[in-house]
Symmetry: C2
Subunit: 208 residues, 2 copies
């Protein structure tokens, strides 16, 4: 998708409009609600026309997901600041953007090669290099993977698990005592902050 050249415009129906409408549709109806026909209908055109701008539906999802990444602000590094401050800020913005569009979590299983995603990954790499990691790859992947996993967990539990889950767990509390005692759905923001804190503390320690 990203490596293919873009076509010249006639500007009545543009990729930008398609992507914006796709995000809106996804926000309203989730990933199963995104249909080429419905998307075309909302754009006042036929489904065939979309395929002139886009090769497959996957392309639409790629574009929509990268648009979400674009919502994550990249913090400005202030001098004298501890290295993990901008990293923490970026991961928080990253997470917030994904949570603002819960469908994005179910769509993260694709290469994040959009310009917005790459820009943020680049930012993360540079921040880690500046912090003292000569090979920031592992640290960057750990942080990105942590955010991804956290968001997926949260969205999954919030959207697809109802009260019946708690009941289910408590009814069979003898089978999973620790689970039933502490519950499965935590305070998500605090949980994320705590986990990110562990990661960053471990990295700090490794840096000596």
């Amino acid at each position: 998708m990203w490596s293919r050249p873009r076509k010249a415009p006639r500007q009545t129906l543009t990729l930008e409009r398609i992507v914006a409408e796709a995000v809106a549709l996804l926000d309203e109806e989730g990933v199963t609600g995104l249909t080429m026909r419905r998307l075309a209908e909302r754009l006042g055109t036929g489904s065939t026309t979309l395929y002139w701008h886009v090769r497959t539906k996957e392309d639409v999802l790629d574009l929509a997901l990268d648009a979400v990444f674009g919502e994550a602000a990249m913090p400005e590094a202030r001098p004298g600041e501890p290295w993990h401050e901008p990293v923490r800020a970026l991961m928080g913005a990253w997470r917030s953007a994904l949570l603002r569009h819960p469908w994005s979590a179910t769509v993260l299983d694709r290469p994040l090669l959009g310009p917005n995603a790459l820009a943020r990954t680049e930012f993360l790499f540079q921040a880690l290099i500046a912090a003292g990691f000569p090979a920031p790859g592992a640290a960057a992947h750990s942080l990105a993977g942590f955010v991804t996993g956290s968001v997926i967990s949260q969205v999954t539990w919030q959207e697809r698990a109802g009260e019946d889950v708690d009941v289910f767990l408590r009814e069979r509390a003898d089978g999973w005592p620790a689970l039933a005692a502490h519950g499965l759905a935590p305070e998500w923001d605090a949980t994320f902050a705590e986990g990110l804190g562990y990661l960053l503390a471990g990295m700090d320690q490794a840096l000596g």
Copy 2:
């Protein structure tokens, strides 16, 4: 009365057989290759029959995913061992099981409420409680989320990104210098171990 109303089922097609065949089919053809029709065909039956044993295709995926979790061995805690050893072992087995069935990564966006998944979560909770976490929820979610995210990253890059990605990145190296210099696809095992090490070290530190 004393003789149990032994409901002797037909036993020709069982849930177990369905799940086993679904896993095999998923292994061979990925998540898009799993079709109720194809699954039925492999089982020598009609697609309708599956719906007697299963309510929807989602059920099949839930069952298949839990079967994968069942492959992750739960380590035995040896006395005197540092607390993070069994945790590290569990997360490693967890990750390996998911990687052995790469389709599972794209299917992790659902509540993990199967017996196998719950048993391992319970194990994790207990290990963290024993380590000294009075409220292990956040730590457990951090670890689980980290594994989830790591696996998704790895599978995504390994399966869906080809050489063209490297070329694409290197061609535009001026836009993302750090990225192009260090590459996107690391040594996965080492990366995972390093990240998990950070997490555990941070937790150790928090425990005092």
